[in-house]
């Protein structure tokens, strides 16, 4: 993951959301992007995935420029847990369907995705087995967040992008989720970028701590 002199601006805004960001994070590392509200953390994450295109500079995700067409294929090797994941009560997709939908990009035409044994283990570890038939909109925020984290992990990605993945979780689940993510990164040699305004408990596991403020990377600390 490499960002070189990256500036991103939203249309209508008089100042860039992130400016002149240089950052390089290797595979097999877990990084925490932290900073106050409005620091540009989510913008940086979405820029890494190529969902936002920089007006200046270049972003390379797993070696591919995010402005290139191939970025769609590269994203299949990535997982994302967005900040605004909560679905309203009328959302009718079940937990099982939401998990299967995560595998949709890999499914050939006319075929259906299947959860393998590793995926079932993740579902069990996040205690979602009893919820698979329930509509996701009827679950609590914390349960929905665990579903999205499970969906991210069962895709077996090379890069994980987690935007405030612990925001709705209690102390027990915050530790448990970070342990799962940490084990995944170490076992697979994957890259994980976790955005969190609260470093606790993420900082216990990280290799790099990226501090942001007012759209700029203020400090990168190797832990």
């Amino acid at each position: 993951m490499k960002l070189s002199k990256v500036t991103v601006a939203y249309s209508g805004s008089d100042r860039p959301a992130i400016e002149d960001v240089d950052l390089e994070l290797p595979l097999g590392s877990l990084s925490l992007i932290t900073g106050p509200n409005g620091a540009g953390k989510t913008t940086l994450l979405e820029c890494c995935l190529g969902l936002l295109k920089p007006i200046k500079g270049e972003v390379f995700l797993l070696g591919v420029n995010t402005k290139a067409r191939e970025i769609i294929e590269v994203r299949k090797k990535c997982s994302y847990v967005p900040q605004d994941f909560i679905k309203p009560p009328y959302e009718t997709y079940t937990v099982g369907q939401v998990l299967h939908l995560g595998l949709a990009p890999y499914v050939p035409p006319f075929r259906s995705p299947i959860l393998n044994l590793k995926a079932m283990k993740v579902v069990e570890e996040l205690e979602l087995s009893d919820l698979v038939d329930k509509p996701i909109g009827t679950l609590s925020g914390g349960q929905q967040q665990r579903v999205l984290i499970a969906r991210a992990l069962i895709r077996e990605p090379l890069a994980l992008f987690l935007d405030e993945p612990l925001s709705c979780l209690d102390r027990y689940w915050r530790d448990k989720v970070m342990e799962l993510v940490n084990d995944y990164v170490r076992d697979r040699g994957a890259l994980a970028l976790v955005v969190s305004h609260d470093p606790n408990p993420v900082e216990n596991y990280v290799d790099y701590l990226v501090e942001m403020s007012e759209g700029k990377v203020k400090r990168v600390v190797e832990c």
Partner: protein
């Protein structure tokens, strides 16, 4: 060879079902205003066909595909102005349609061609046009069955699907193109101003009757076909304009669905209160 009535029945059933399914996906994928622009692009194309004295169904077909392609290609570049640009497309297409009708050298709106364009006529249905409609419907069914997981992923969360490597722009473009084709081929039955009744009335009716996504799609497709047939029957029995009859019958189904939803809610409340006070 099929009689005109048989052809009209098959066309209404196929057009209604296709519009019910396409409208459902357009609603779920959040491209209703885009489809609005495509529909009026088709209407403008049909009106241009009047000026050029070619079959309006084919000129509508070309215009619908051109509008859908243009909108699809510019989709990612329009950003927050997408809705406004759609409205520009809509008003410009409507203006082109009205100007074309004005210059089409037809003196009154009741002229058969203009009437067929604005509010539909079974007289304009031919076996070849039905073949095109059926081919579009079968192609859409094949497309849905092939990519239903990807389509559902976009419906569930567009941004997440894009982040996970689904080509959201491609599928949105395909949906818009299918919608453009469906609209252009349904114009002959219901006309340019009433085609939305077949696209979106079944969607709201099905949403009132079931909460399950798969059930809503099936019901929307079924109700689209049923309301179209019902409208055709009313038109035949009372000698009323077919487009307006179809639009009113599908609106009746929407009202009926709200009534059924109300009854279902009351029944649930009654059963719940019964459980609390045995």
């Amino acid at each position: 060879m099929l009689s005109l009535l048989e052809l009209a029945i098959l066309t209404s059933l196929t057009a209604g079902s296709l519009c019910g399914a396409v409208g459902f996906h357009a609603f779920k994928m959040g491209v209703i205003t885009l489809s609005f622009a495509v529909a009026h692009g088709a209407l403008a194309g049909a009106a241009i066909g009047l000026v050029l004295r070619v079959d309006v169904s084919y000129s509508a077909l070309i215009a619908a595909i051109l509008t859908a392609t243009t909108l699809s290609l510019s989709l990612s570049k329009l950003g927050p102005f997408r809705e406004l640009i759609n409205m520009v497309f809509f008003s410009t297409s409507s203006a082109i349609a009205l100007l074309s009708i004005y210059y089409a050298n037809v003196k009154v709106l009741a002229t058969t061609n203009v009437a067929a364009l604005l509010w539909g006529s079974v007289l304009t249905v031919t076996p070849f046009k039905y073949f095109l409609l059926l081919s579009t419907a079968l192609s859409y069914l094949a497309y849905y069955l092939a990519f239903k997981w990807k389509i559902n992923s976009i419906i569930y969360d567009r941004r997440l699907a894009e982040a996970e490597g689904i080509n959201v722009t491609l599928h949105t473009s395909l949906l818009l193109t299918f919608e453009g084709l469906s609209i252009a081929l349904t114009l002959m039955l219901v006309g340019g101003f009433l085609v939305f009744s077949l696209l979106y009335n079944p969607v709201i009716a099905s949403s009132n009757l079931t909460k399950e996504t798969k059930g809503q799609l099936l019901l929307s497709t079924t109700l689209g076909g049923f309301s179209s047939l019902m409208g055709l029957a009313i038109s035949y029995l009372f000698d009323s304009p077919v487009g307006a009859s179809i639009a009113l019958s599908s609106a009746t189904l929407v009202i009926a669905s709200y009534f059924l939803k109300f009854l279902k809610n009351r029944l649930n409340q009654y059963l719940l209160s019964g459980n609390r006070n045995p």
